[in-house]
């Protein structure tokens, strides 16, 4: 596809929301949103988590019905009572977790429910295989996939494409993709983009939901920004700058995401010497008081494993960890915590949060001594500790008793950070602290990291987003194959240099260096 010029001619609107509002209890998820989705155009739908993107998509998809306003599709007002109604007019949504039946083959998944494809009483294997090959060829997948490959053996990118193939079967007019690249490598993402461009050329209307500015820029013709349920921006992408989009999402100008003021690190606080586990080889590392050290590397480079080893979660085979000059005996995380280390792991839902428990309970989990007397919980003390952290971190929650599962990703991450701040740690290890959270919450977490450094906390930050790491860190340590392979001071930390180091020992594996 050639570069999409901002076509002045009116494209045909396939489906259109007219003054759509939707309430969930007291929360107004959508507020009089009017948005047209036009044939042959890629519309990027952006906004922070909770801005109403998903709600809008689910209304187009027939999962929710608007409380007021209307949906106009193919020139007539329509009421979608179920996704089947939306499918009937050719609207399909590809969710982040594609629905496939893992134990059936690709061909069977593609033609599932399409009984006309059968001949006599049996499933016509030859016919199905031929058709499947044909479709695979259209997507450029004929070399890597066979019709009878088990669908469960496909990677996330292939599953997504399969879902799109299935959508194509029934006269596709509108294709909505919800954060489609969140689990794809760079190559896979590019292949998806090619498919999207081809569909666009065929006249399909594309709605593309993404957090990633670069993808929006690369793919979209038009961008719509939602904030707090309202449509803030709906303009051709060529007429709007990146920072205007971000500003529209966040609702305030982001002057500078990162605190660029010079820091003066104090003495070393966290000292790692020759630390070795099954996946980490002879790592030595110092993090000084008030210093932010970034840990870069490709997937599988051993960064999270190093963090877990320092925190005593993984058994170390050799080496030592010292905090403030005192060596710790690392038998379990409890020892690391007692020595003043805090750790926000990579996957907050499975490693950091008790999803069913309250915000207060989650924050106070690591400070039993501060919230109890003779083992009895002092609820007043607990609530005041939790409330002060909810205030300080600006955690948006209806109450301290709210189950954390109901909070947004950004607020969940803040709860995890709150747990460690309650302990006033000397050293804090943050593994992918901004993964899957919206721009506004990211900015707040960057500010918090800078603030903690200013207070003299030693910070070790792992991130796969290199611009973020470069913006945050005073120096960047690069890992590959479980070892430290290089170190770059702030001035020299450029993406290319980091990647060069990271890939020196892991040739051919790109995919980690994604830019948000």
């Amino acid at each position: 596809m050639a570069g999409s010029s901002p076509a002045p001619k009116r494209l045909e609107s396939v489906v259109e929301a007219v003054g759509v509002s939707k309430d969930f209890g007291v929360v107004r998820a959508l507020d009089r949103v009017s948005l047209a989705i036009r044939a042959g155009e890629v519309l990027a739908l952006v906004g922070e988590n909770g801005a109403g993107k998903s709600t809008l998509i689910r209304i187009f998809e027939g999962v929710f019905r608007p409380d007021s306003g209307a949906i106009v599709a193919l020139g007539a007002q329509r009421v979608f009572r179920s996704p089947a109604d939306a499918h009937a007019v050719g609207i399909r949504v590809i969710h982040q977790e594609p629905d496939i039946i893992p134990d059936l083959s690709i061909a069977e998944n593609l033609f599932l429910g399409d009984l006309r494809r059968t001949r006599r009483i049996f499933f016509d294997r030859g016919d199905a295989a031929r058709r499947t090959r044909q479709i695979l060829a259209e997507f450029g997948l004929e070399k890597e996939l066979e019709p009878w490959t088990r669908a469960g053996d496909l990677g996330p990118a292939q599953r997504q494409l399969m879902e799109i193939m299935r959508a194509l079967r029934g006269g596709l007019r509108v294709l909505a993709l919800d954060e489609p690249t969140s689990s794809l490598t760079e190559d896979e993402a590019q292949r998806l983009f090619r498919v999207v461009r081809r569909l666009k050329a065929d006249g399909v209307a594309i709605v593309y939901i993404s957090h990633r500015m670069r993808e929006v820029r690369e793919l979209a013709d038009r961008v719509a920004v939602l904030r707090d349920g309202r449509l803030i921006v709906d303009r051709p992408i060529a007429e709007i700058a990146d920072n205007e989009i971000v500003q529209a999402m966040v609702g305030r100008p982001i002057s500078d995401l990162f605190d660029r003021s010079e820091r003066r690190p104090g003495p070393p606080v966290l000292c790692v010497r020759g630390l070795t586990t099954k996946r980490v080889k002879d790592v030595s590392l110092d993090v000084r008081a008030g210093e932010v050290v970034g840990l870069a590397g490709l997937i599988g480079a051993g960064r999270s494993e190093l963090a877990e080893a320092i925190f005593g979660h993984d058994r170390s085979l050799a080496g030592s960890v010292a905090v403030g000059g005192r060596a710790i005996r690392l038998r379990s995380p409890a020892d690391a915590i007692a020595a003043g280390i805090g750790f926000a792991p990579e996957d907050r839902k499975s490693q950091a949060l008790l999803l069913l428990r309250s915000v207060a309970n989650n924050i106070s989990l690591a400070v039993p001594d501060l919230i109890s007397r003779f083992n009895f919980v002092r609820f007043g003390a607990e609530r005041s500790i939790a409330a002060s952290l909810v205030d300080r971190l600006r955690i948006r929650t209806p109450s301290l008793d709210q189950a954390v599962s109901k909070l947004s990703g950004g607020n969940q991450q803040k709860v995890v950070l709150g747990r460690w701040l309650a302990r006033r740690p000397k050293a804090l290890i943050l593994d992918e602290p901004t993964r899957g959270i919206d721009v506004g919450a990211k900015a707040e977490i960057y500010r918090l990291i800078a603030q903690l450094a200013a207070e003299g906390v030693a910070l070790l930050v792992i991130s796969s987003e290199l611009p973020e790491l470069i913006g945050l860190a005073d120096r960047i340590v690069v890992m590959a194959g479980g070892r430290i392979v290089g170190e770059l001071p702030r001035g020299e930390a450029k993406e290319e240099r980091i990647l060069q180091l990271a890939m020196a020992e892991a040739l051919g594996e790109v995919g980690e260096a994604r830019i948000n």
């Binding site: 925190f311 379990s332 995380p333 409890a334 069913l356 109890s372 009895f376 919980v377 007043g380 747990r419």
Partner: protein, 337 residues
């Protein structure tokens, strides 16, 4: 309180004021416990309506209480085990073993108090064994306690030579059948145990941490909790409680019998706990829920007897009740989860 000054607290107060009184009451009781209360009320209405002459007599109500005392103690302890992410199938066998050791100890020492303590001690040791096998041996709790169930049952037969051992001590007769201020002693024991468990799970750091390890072991470990120690502790508590339940049973029957407690007591305890809202995946469940589960089983048992439903049909009714309860809980979870 200091929090009153903060912005959050102000926001909280505001949102609290917006909630209606009914909503906040429901939230306090919990939706699951509320539906259990409704189920209980329905059962009481049915059986009360069918046998108004007997059902509401104080005598009958105390009967129900006495009948569920042992199950109640076991089910609330089982609730704690399930909340911690485990399961203890060996409690019935521990009850039987405890009755035997208590009966023997009465013969050895002549002291009812020492004998009871000995029974509880034997139960606690059995619990430690369970806990160590599960944590150190890294064996699934169901498999581990299924194995120890057979072991404990065997031990009870070995030490008693397979014989029933009578207890003649009047103290036991008093525990089994006596009353204080009109309230049977067994019911008082039940109330005391449930109260203690309630305080443990809701007002102590230990209880909080049991919810934490059941909710997610990795999270608990990364927050600095000693998961193994808590697990061993929970099984020890379960064993000791089963030892105490053995005391109640020995007192009721006036004997120590190796066979006692083998009539599916453990399954009934698990049934009550699940009925009470425990998720077998751990991290979810309440003591009050467990107690309500026991009360429902007790009222159902009693009502079915009063209305002369044959025993075999009673079993079917209980099974249906459990499945229905779990389905309802599942539907609720979908709605509110």
């Amino acid at each position: 309180m200091t929090e009153a000054k903060t912005g959050v607290a102000a926001g909280l107060a505001e949102s609290r004021a917006q909630k209606s009184a009914v909503r906040s009451m429901i939230e306090r009781v919990g939706t699951h416990n509320l539906s259990l209360l409704i189920a209980l009320a329905i059962l009481i209405a049915i059986f009360g309506g069918l046998r108004p002459d007997v059902f509401f007599l104080v005598r009958n109500i105390l009967n129900i209480g006495q009948a569920i005392a042992i199950l109640g103690v076991l089910a609330t302890a089982q609730t704690i085990v399930i909340v911690s992410g485990g399961l203890d199938i060996s409690v019935g066998a521990i009850v039987g073993m405890s009755t035997v050791y208590i009966a023997l100890a009465v013969g050895w020492t002549g002291s009812p108090l020492l004998s009871i303590l000995f029974g509880v001690f034997v139960g606690a040791i059995a619990g430690v064994v369970n806990g160590v096998i599960i944590t150190v041996g890294r064996i699934n709790a169901v498999i581990a306690t299924l194995g120890t169930m057979a072991v404990f049952r065997g031990v009870a037969f070995i030490v008693s030579n397979g014989q029933s051992i009578s207890i003649f001590d009047p103290a036991f007769r008093f525990i089994g059948n006596g009353k204080i201020f009109g309230l049977p002693v067994t019911i008082m024991v039940l109330i005391a145990m449930v109260a203690a468990f309630f305080v443990l799970m809701n007002y102590t750091v230990t209880g909080r941490n049991i919810y934490a390890i059941g909710g997610n072991q990795v999270v608990a470990r990364l927050a600095g909790l000693n998961v193994r120690a808590y697990q061993i502790g929970v099984y020890t508590l379960s064993g000791a409680t089963a030892g105490l339940a053995g005391m109640l049973l020995a007192a009721r029957t006036g004997s120590g019998q190796p066979i006692s407690g083998s009539d599916g007591l453990e399954l009934e305890a698990i049934t009550a706990a699940v009925l009470g809202g425990c998720a077998l995946t751990g991290g979810k469940g309440t003591i009050i829920g467990g107690l309500l589960g026991v009360l429902i089983i007790g009222v159902l048992d009693n009502g079915l007897i009063l209305t002369s439903v044959p025993t075999f049909y009673q079993m079917v009714a209980k099974g249906v009740l459990l499945i229905a309860a779990v389905i309802i809980a599942e539907l609720q979870g979908r709605r509110y989860g």
